[in-house]
């Protein structure tokens, strides 16, 4: 095992250590639009990224940036209507899952790509006990039943550090604390050893000390199983703690993507820089916090391409109509530029309502 991952590391320049393996998820130019009364909302508009075995990719962005819709698209769970995946490819272990029938997709969901949602109370069914809910996916995907299923459920609960799992599995969700509920959701997520686990803000509803416990648990599970994790968050603190690579999303597009240390040490896009700067620091007693001026643009009516930047007068109509271009600024470090101004003003793509 160790020698195997070493050879992979040698061929893969971006891997920082031996635990990261081959690409398990490759998303190319994904587009998910919502057709509404007010026009077409381009929630995800040409997003590309990949995820390797044992790696954690952070997708960071504010509410409405399209990060959750990206993850729902990968699961093919976008509510339709009004949502439609209108373009792109999603390769899961080499297979384009956007081409699969709904029936085939059912066998992929839960077994090869799984999800942990933000609120464990709504993610769990209040009228079934924990044993039923953790066992459901294994019953369907792996055909386990009876004592074998029970033993596996106990094993899963032990893996997520539920004390006395043989007793607690008879409990209903309301009998567990918030942290334990989220552990159960985690156990459901990893129960069929998926290749990709999508964690959509899994710790937002947890307290600080419980959050720390849960993040450690996710890391341990990853070390044990080699699952690739997509971590969706708006908090750069979680990114710093958990992620190997980061993709920063803004208004449906990725504006910067790269290795976590590159992003923190050398953010090129002004939005990334602003997000990192706006995290308040506990160790410092500052006079004033940095805040990003203005608001993210409305999704239906985007203002001029890069009007946030001082050198841009926002008068070029091409800035609105032309798509931004991605430029590789360093090894696997991509930054979005405004296409018409890149050479004249060097503007990064960053529309903003001010």
């Amino acid at each position: 095992m160790a020698s195997e991952s070493k050879t992979e590391t040698a061929t893969d320049s971006s891997s920082s250590n031996g635990r990261i393996g081959e690409v398990v998820l490759d998303v190319k130019d994904l587009k998910t639009y919502f057709v509404t009364r007010w026009g077409v909302v381009k929630a995800v508009d040409g997003v590309s990224f990949n995820l390797r075995k044992g790696e954690t990719l952070g997708i960071v962005g504010e509410s409405g940036s399209g990060k959750s819709v990206t993850s729902l698209s990968v699961m093919r769970l976008v509510p339709s209507p009004p949502g439609h995946i209108v373009g792109g490819e999603v390769y899961l272990q080499g297979e384009n899952i956007l081409d699969l029938s709904e029936k085939d997709m059912e066998s992929v969901r839960g077994s090869r790509v799984a999800m942990v949602l933000q609120d464990p109370m709504t993610a769990l069914n209040p009228v079934f006990d924990i044993e039923d809910q953790v066992g459901e996916a294994m019953k369907i995907h792996e055909g386990l039943k009876g004592d074998g299923l029970k033993a596996t459920v106990i094993d899963m609960l032990r893996k997520v550090r539920i004390p006395a799992p043989d007793i607690r599995m008879k409990d209903f969700p309301h009998q567990l604390s918030g942290g334990m509920r989220q552990r159960v959701v985690g156990a459901i997520g990893i129960s069929c050893s998926p290749a990709v686990l999508i964690a959509d803000e899994p710790t937002t509803s947890l307290d600080a000390t419980i959050q720390a416990q849960y993040l450690r648990l996710l890391r341990e599970l990853q070390e044990d199983t080699g699952v690739g994790i997509i971590f969706i968050t708006h908090d750069f603190g979680i990114v710093a703690k958990m992620c190997d690579r980061v993709a920063v999303m803004y208004a449906g597009k990725i504006v910067e993507q790269g290795d976590v240390r590159t992003i923190f040490n050398n953010p090129i896009h002004p939005y990334t820089e602003a997000l990192i700067k706006s995290v308040p620091k506990m160790e410092e007693n500052v006079e004033r916090l940095y805040a990003i001026p203005g608001n993210p643009p409305s999704v239906t009516n985007r203002p001029s391409g890069c009007n946030f930047q001082p050198q841009c007068d926002g008068s070029n109509p091409d800035c609105v109509t032309q798509e931004p271009i991605l430029v590789e600024e360093g090894p696997e470090h991509w930054v979005a530029y405004c296409a018409p101004c890149k050479d004249t003003h060097g503007c990064k793509w960053f529309p903003r309502d001010i």
């Binding site: 918030g178 600080a208 995290v279 805040a291």
Partner: protein, 348 residues
């Protein structure tokens, strides 16, 4: 009854016990069961400063806020506002108190009525408590909106037409309408994106400077507290376990729970390899908590009195106090810190 202290708000031995079971038919033979949400806390807030109450869900910080806002009747204890006993005021005094003490709530989606226009949301307290004419109220609402960084024309809009950060600004404008002295901020930024939090925190700090406001800030995010507060109280299971000025608390955290909270904070950089201290186990149920220092390894737990969970306060340095177990503090120096942890073997 009055108090001589110069504090704007003074709380003495405040308690709130909720009756959660037993008592009716069961009461004939059994005992009433109480959830001790707040179990005897003291605090003082000086005018023009910010006091932060920190702690996890269920520690009683929001119940404390509700009692200060007179939305809950305390079971026991005293609240003094500007030296006056706030719990035993006449009708007029209560009315004054309620306009001097305002609140900003956590969830800007739930705290604004979706069927009211912004001008009515902000104008309602003015309509009820002042004799201003409609026209004057409209002007005042416009001024308030400008003060919180919105445009006067937005007064005609409904809450759903605003983003989360803007809604929280509307909540702040409403709390300012009656020129209050004290504003209770109940997790004012935790429902917002990290990038928007800074805007709202800066706004609150500007308003404090401008109007000389006093804040009682309820939060669980330590960096927020560090930025905004002058003094911090850490709550755990209805008790105050540590209280100090902001710098003292962060430089010299003494109670193991405070240390754990600081240790659980997220890093700012991937290379920021700070010592990871993760607290094991969970906060026990406040209905029937285990004996006080069952988490402390050196505690032999031989005192029957420990089960009463009586907390003694010890002074570390002037203005810095820490909660100890009242029965073992002299023998073992146990910090009061009941915890449910199946993984810890107790030393007998």
């Amino acid at each position: 009854m009055t108090s001589e202290s110069g504090a704007l708000l003074q709380i003495k031995n405040l308690k709130k016990h909720f009756h959660v079971g037993g008592g009716f038919l069961g009461g004939l033979g059994g005992q009433k069961t109480y959830l001790k949400a707040v179990d005897g806390i003291d605090l003082e807030i000086e005018p023009g400063t910010t006091y932060g109450l920190v702690g996890e869900s269920g520690c009683g910080k929001s119940t404390t806020a509700k009692m200060v806002l007179m939305l809950e009747e305390p079971t026991e204890g005293e609240i003094y506002f500007e030296g006056q006993d706030a719990l035993n005021m006449n009708r007029e005094g209560r009315k004054n108190y309620k306009s001097s003490v305002q609140a900003v709530f956590q969830d800007p989606w739930a705290s604004l009525n979706p069927r009211m226009r912004v001008e009515n949301i902000i104008g309602e307290p003015l309509e009820i408590n002042t004799t201003l004419s409609r026209k004057e109220i409209r002007t005042k609402v416009g001024d308030l909106l400008e003060e919180v960084g919105l445009q006067p024309y937005q007064a005609g809009l409904y809450p759903h037409e605003f983003s989360g950060g803007q809604r929280q600004r509307i909540g702040v404008a409403r709390s300012l309408a009656l020129n209050p002295k004290l504003i209770v901020l109940d997790e004012p930024v935790s429902a917002l994106d990290v990038s928007i939090r800074a805007q709202i925190m800066n706004l609150l700090m500007d308003l404090q400077k401008e109007h000389g406001l006093t804040y009682l800030l309820i939060a669980h995010h330590l960096a927020t507290v560090r930025y905004m507060c002058d003094k911090i109280g850490v709550m755990y299971l209805g008790h105050m376990v540590e209280e100090a000025t902001t710098d003292e608390l962060f430089d010299n955290p003494t109670h193991p729970y405070t240390q754990a909270l600081i240790g659980a904070a997220l890093p700012y950089h991937p290379d920021d390899e700070k010592e990871e201290s993760i607290l094991e186990g969970e906060v026990p149920s406040p209905i029937d908590p285990p004996s006080c220092c069952s988490y402390i390894p050196n505690c032999p737990e031989t005192f029957a009195e420990c089960n009463d969970n009586v907390v003694a306060t010890k002074t570390v340095s002037p203005g810095h106090t820490v909660g100890h177990c009242a029965h073992c503090v002299d023998h073992y120096g146990c910090y009061w810190f009941p915890r449910v942890n199946p993984n810890i073997e107790r030393n007998q």
